[in-house]
Every structure is written in C-alpha cells, then in structure tokens.
Amino acid sequence: MAATAGVGVGDDGALRLARQKAQNAVVQDRFFYWLTFACAALVVVLLLGVMVSLLIGAWPALSTFGPAFVITERWSPVKEIFGALAPIYGTIVTSLIAMIIGIPVSFGIAIFLTELCPVPLRRPIGIAIELLAGIPSIIYGLWGFFFLAPFMQTTIQPALIGSIGKLPVIGILFGGAPYGIGLLTAGIILAIMVLPFITSITRDVFETVPTLLRESSYGMGMTTWEVVRSIIIPYTRVGLVGGIMLGLGRALGETMAVTFVIGNSHNIMPSLLAPATTISATIANEFTEATGELYTSSLIALGLILFVITFLVLGLAKWMLGRAEVK
C-alpha cells in the first residue's frame, strides 16, 4: 500500500491523475487477490465440510461397532449387524486387478504411440483412447452385464477353472463355478475404464523426454526396449507414478459399472471368480431402501472409509513423488 502515501501532495493535475490510477490499480489487485483467495478457500472449506458431515453421519455406526466395523465381514440389515470388511476387500482387489491389467497395457500403448507408431496412425489411436475415456460408466456397466459377463461365463472362466484352477495354491484364486460376474469381471471392466487415463498421462510424460537424449541413445546402438527401459522410464518415473495413481483413484471410486458385474455378495471368498461387492456398489445398491439410523449410518461410514482410502492413495503418491524427487 506504499503507493497511497504520495496522493494529494502533487499540485500538477496530470500527476495527480496518474497517482489516482496507480492507486486504483492497487485496489484492483487487492480485490483480485481476495477474490481468487476466496475461490481457493472454498475448496478447502468444501473438503472439510464433506469430511465433517461424513463423520457426523457415520458416528452412530462407528460408535456402535467400534473397530469391528472395519475388520468384520458380516453385513446383516435384518439383525442390524454391520461389518465393512467385504466391501473394503472387494474395492481393493478389483482395483488391484484393474492395475495389474491396466498398467502394462497402458504403458504398451504409450510406448507404441511415442516410439514406434507410424505418424499417420498416431492421431486416430490417440482419439480412440480419448473416446474410451468419454464413455459414461453406466454404459460400461450395461456392456459388462450383457456382453462381457456372458462371455466370461461361457469362455474365459471355464478355461481358467480348467487350467490355472487345477494348480496347487494359486488354483484357489480360480476355483468355483463360472458365474460370469464377480471380482475378475469387475477388475477387467475397471482396467478398460482406467486405460485411457493412464495411457494419456504416460504418453504425455514420455513425450517430455528430450529428443537429444533419445536420439543419442539410439545413436549408441540401443534397441527400442533398452531405450524405454533405461532412458525413458527412469526419466519419467515421477509422471508415471502420478498417472498410475490417477487411474487407481478412478478404479477405487467407480460405482455404476462395478455394481452391474461384481455380483453384490457380502461374503469374502478366496476365488476371484466369486461374486463380491465394493464400497461404492454397496452404497449405490442399498441406500434407497435403507431404513433405520444404524443402517443408513453404516452406509455413510462406508463412504468415509472410501474417502480415507482415497486419501491414503493420494498420500502414498505424494510420498513416492517426494522420494523420486530426492533421487
């Protein structure tokens, strides 16, 4: 506010006008500062508000069941006994399956697009990936339910049960009857849904590798695989982690598509082919008909847990980025 000091001293009209203008500019800047500050503060206030209201809503369930809420599996609306372990398990396992399938495929697409793809093909493939991101999740759900699930049931799952399912130890993951729906089918749908997110970020960060570095490597006789493994991936490590975490965040919270193909069972089974449930699917399924304070509160507590899981993922990502930065 130093500019205000000189106002009114000058006797020259033009000078006074100039000072007045300068003062106006300062006021304008102050106003603009506070306006943008208010916008930024709004986000924080909203975030805290969401957290507080979730906590208040979840409190009856959390105080009734205590820590047992997150470590028990039983979910009985009739007897008002609620444990969130099955939805937590389902959320994490489906997201893991999505990552196991989604990350290598996304990296493959990104490497092909930046390193190997003939230039005329780049745009069509890039647009196709972006369109994949634009499909609403309910469409993925319907497609999963009417096409992917029957296909899994008649083709993929019997093959898995007949081959890997017969092996010791790992076989337990692929045992049971082919229902079509279940953890694996939900994981595959999620993998397809996170693919465009991870791919587009991976492609963008791969393109930040300086041409000089890239060309030198090829010039020294490195193969494409060696360039990707030793130059591009180490160079873009930080961005890759960010892309993966973005995809993971999407997978954890996805609701509609999963609800259609997960099987919605509150029992935890060892097999990946068995029906299960996720946090968001449980909320979407049961909220409309939930009667009684404890039931509603337990569903809100599930929302709180999803919030916490998402935060942990975000925190983990920041921590990994921080570590990568130090290196």
Partner: protein, 366 residues
C-alpha cells in the same frame, strides 16, 4: 509455486492438480449419494415419493386422473426407504412403501397407512428342459434352495414335488436383488413364515444377509442373470415375469394346493387377507389361506400425516386415491396389479376419518 521437479517435466503440475481434484471429487460423490434425498413438490400437483414397485401404475392412474380433473401427480419413485424418509420430513404429501410401518413408527411420526394396490412375486428358473409352469415348489424347498442347503436340481425334495419331471443334476445358482427392495421384503417374509431356519439365519427385510448366490440390480438384473445362468433361480414381480415370458414356477400354498401365478390367484390371496382385524392395515399378505391363493403376494401402502400441515394437499391426495380405488381397476389389471377388494376399500375410507384438520376429517368434509 512450482516444485523443483516441474522444471524437468512441465506436464506434471497440472497432472498433480488433476489427481487432487479427482480425489476430492470422489469424496464429494460419496456424500452426494448421502444427501441425494431432497425433493420439492409443485404447488398445484399432489406430491408423493417412494416405492418403485407401484410407480408404473401410479403413473398411469395419474395420467388419466389429470385428464379427468386437471390435477396432476408428482411422484418420485426413489424406493420405499426414500419415500418413508421424505414423508416423515414432510417434503411430500404422501409416501408409498412396500413394507408396512409398525405401530410405533407410525404414531411417533403421526402417520397413517393404508394399502393401495397388490401384486404377486414369482420364482423364475433356468433349468434345461423345464418350461414355464413346469416346476412345482413349496415354501420349505424354496427356503432350502435360497439357504444353500439344496445344491442340485435333482435333490429328493424337488423330485418329490415333481414326480413326472426329469430334473438334471445341474448345480443350483441363486440370483437375488442386490438393491434394497420391497420385492425382497415380501419374498423373505414368505420364506420366514415357511422355514424356521430361514427366519433364524436370515429373516426378512428389504435387503438381507443372503447366505449364497449372486446379487443383481433391479428386476431386470435378476431376470437377466437367470436367463444367462444355467441352473439358476431368482424372484421377480409377476408383471416382469409375464411380460418377458420368463420360466416361472408353480407354488404349493398354505392350504397345500398347487397354484399357478396369475391375477386370479393373487386376487384370491388379497380376498382372503383379513384386513378387518389388522391394526393400521399392517398385514403382509404372504402365505394367506384359501385353496386358490398364491402364497407370495405383496401390497404397497401409502403413508400420510394424520394431522397434515397442508390440509388441502392431503385432501387432494385422498380424493385421488378414492378415485383410483373406484375407477382404476382396469388399468391395474392391464399392468398385472391386483386392485384392493371393495370390502377393504370401505375399511380404508372409514379409517380416513382419522386424517383430520382442525378436528374435522379432511376427506369426509370434501
């Protein structure tokens, strides 16, 4: 302020912001579901919310009623639980629920309830060589299937009921509703009445702790899971089964007679229901006596305040239901619903004397 690493990878700061935004969005999405139950009513129209089961019929009735009287109905089919919450919060004039409220909850909130329509729920199956209406089941066997105790279609209990049918040794797959539903409430109520094991282990509610099986969203979900899965059994509203030509089963009723699911057998269950002796019309019409009664029948109740804040709106709602009882029978039949028998309508309209404003019954005053 840009972090140090941003100098190497210019894209990362925006990507990190996206990441943060996404995390916040998913948190907000969770709360959005929690607070989705808000609604406003149009002043001139009758406002209601609740049961999805009754929605197709209410929509049809409302359309005809609007043509006849000029008064419309704004009904949100958000589910029975949502309907109960909204009428308790007085954001709508009436709520509709597939599960009747107990006396305590009614008096606590100053509500009265009465049935408006009935229907039937039928088991549907997908077994090789079994056509619609071929298979006969009874309550204990149905409970055994849904408890996971009967695991194969050639089980002696099923064979005993179907001596002339060749049943394969296909494993049983159970399909149930994953969303909370009045259909589930009535179905599990029937199983509780027929099987002590079911009552102890599972009980009855709009959503229950299913011992086995896969959950599918909505009646369409259950129907399609059954269609796609060999050896499966599920349950849907009759209208859904008849319109989609699904393979329904016959049932042995409370009198030990085998009955076919149709409007006549649902009507028989409704006619045999003893509403005269049911306080607050709290009578679930599963497993009703009578040779012709279908055992898994269901009703939908309307909830309305006994001392409404807006007497005019409540009066309009009652007039609409009176009109529907008297003039809506054919439309109900066309949509596979069963109308409330006239004797019960008389009881219901008598009970409306309890809905008052300024000490005077609202309906009788009109």
């Amino acid at each position: 302020m840009r972090p140090a690493w941003a100098g190497h990878c210019p894209d990362l700061s925006s990507e990190r912001d996206n990441h943060m935004k996404h995390a916040i969005l998913s948190g907000i999405a969770a709360i959005a579901i929690a607070t989705a139950l808000t609604g406003t009513a149009l002043a001139a129209d009758i406002s209601g919310a609740g049961s999805t089961f009754v929605y197709p019929l209410l929509a049809k009735w409302a359309d005809t009623y609007k043509t006849a009287t000029g008064i419309g109905l704004n009904y949100q089919s958000i589910g029975s639980g949502g309907g109960i919450k909204q009428v308790e919060a007085k954001t709508v004039t009436f709520g509709a629920t597939d599960k009747p409220l107990g006396d305590d909850e009614l008096s606590k909130n100053g509500l009265v309830q009465f049935p408006i329509v009935m229907g039937g729920i039928v088991p549907i199956v997908n077994i090789d060589g079994v056509k619609p209406g071929d298979l006969v089941l009874d309550g204990p066997t149905l409970a055994g299937l849904f408890l996971g105790k009967i695991t194969s279609w050639d089980d002696p209990a099923i064979k005993a009921l179907n001596p002339s049918l060749t049943l394969p040794a296909t494993p049983v797959v159970i399909a149930h509703r994953s969303d909370g539903s009045g259909t589930t409430f009535n179905f599990t109520d029937y199983l509780s009445k027929e099987s002590a094991d079911w009552k102890d282990a599972v009980g009855s509610d709009t959503a229950v702790e299913w011992p086995v099986g896969v959950g599918a969203k909505g009646s369409e979900g259950v129907a399609n899971t059954v269609k796609q899965t060999a050896g499966s059994i599920g349950y849907v509203e009759y209208a859904y089964a008849s319109q989609n030509a699904l393979s329904y089963t016959k049932m042995v009723n409370a009198n030990g007679k085998t009955v076919e699911p149709n409007l006549d057998s649902f009507g028989a269950a409704a006619a045999n229901a003893d509403f005269a002796n049911a306080k607050n019309f709290n009578l679930i019409i599963t497993n009703q006596p009578g040779d012709a009664s279908w055992p898994i029948a269901a009703s939908t109740w309307v909830l309305i305040h006994a001392q409404p804040d807006d007497a005019a709106a409540a009066g309009e709602a009652l007039k609409f239901f009176d009109w529907a009882y008297k003039n809506g029978k054919d439309q109900a039949k066309a949509l596979d619903y069963v109308s409330i028998p006239d004797s019960v309508v008389t009881l219901i309209e008598k009970s409306w004397d309890g809905i008052q404003s300024g000490g005077k019954p609202i309906f009788a005053a009109q």
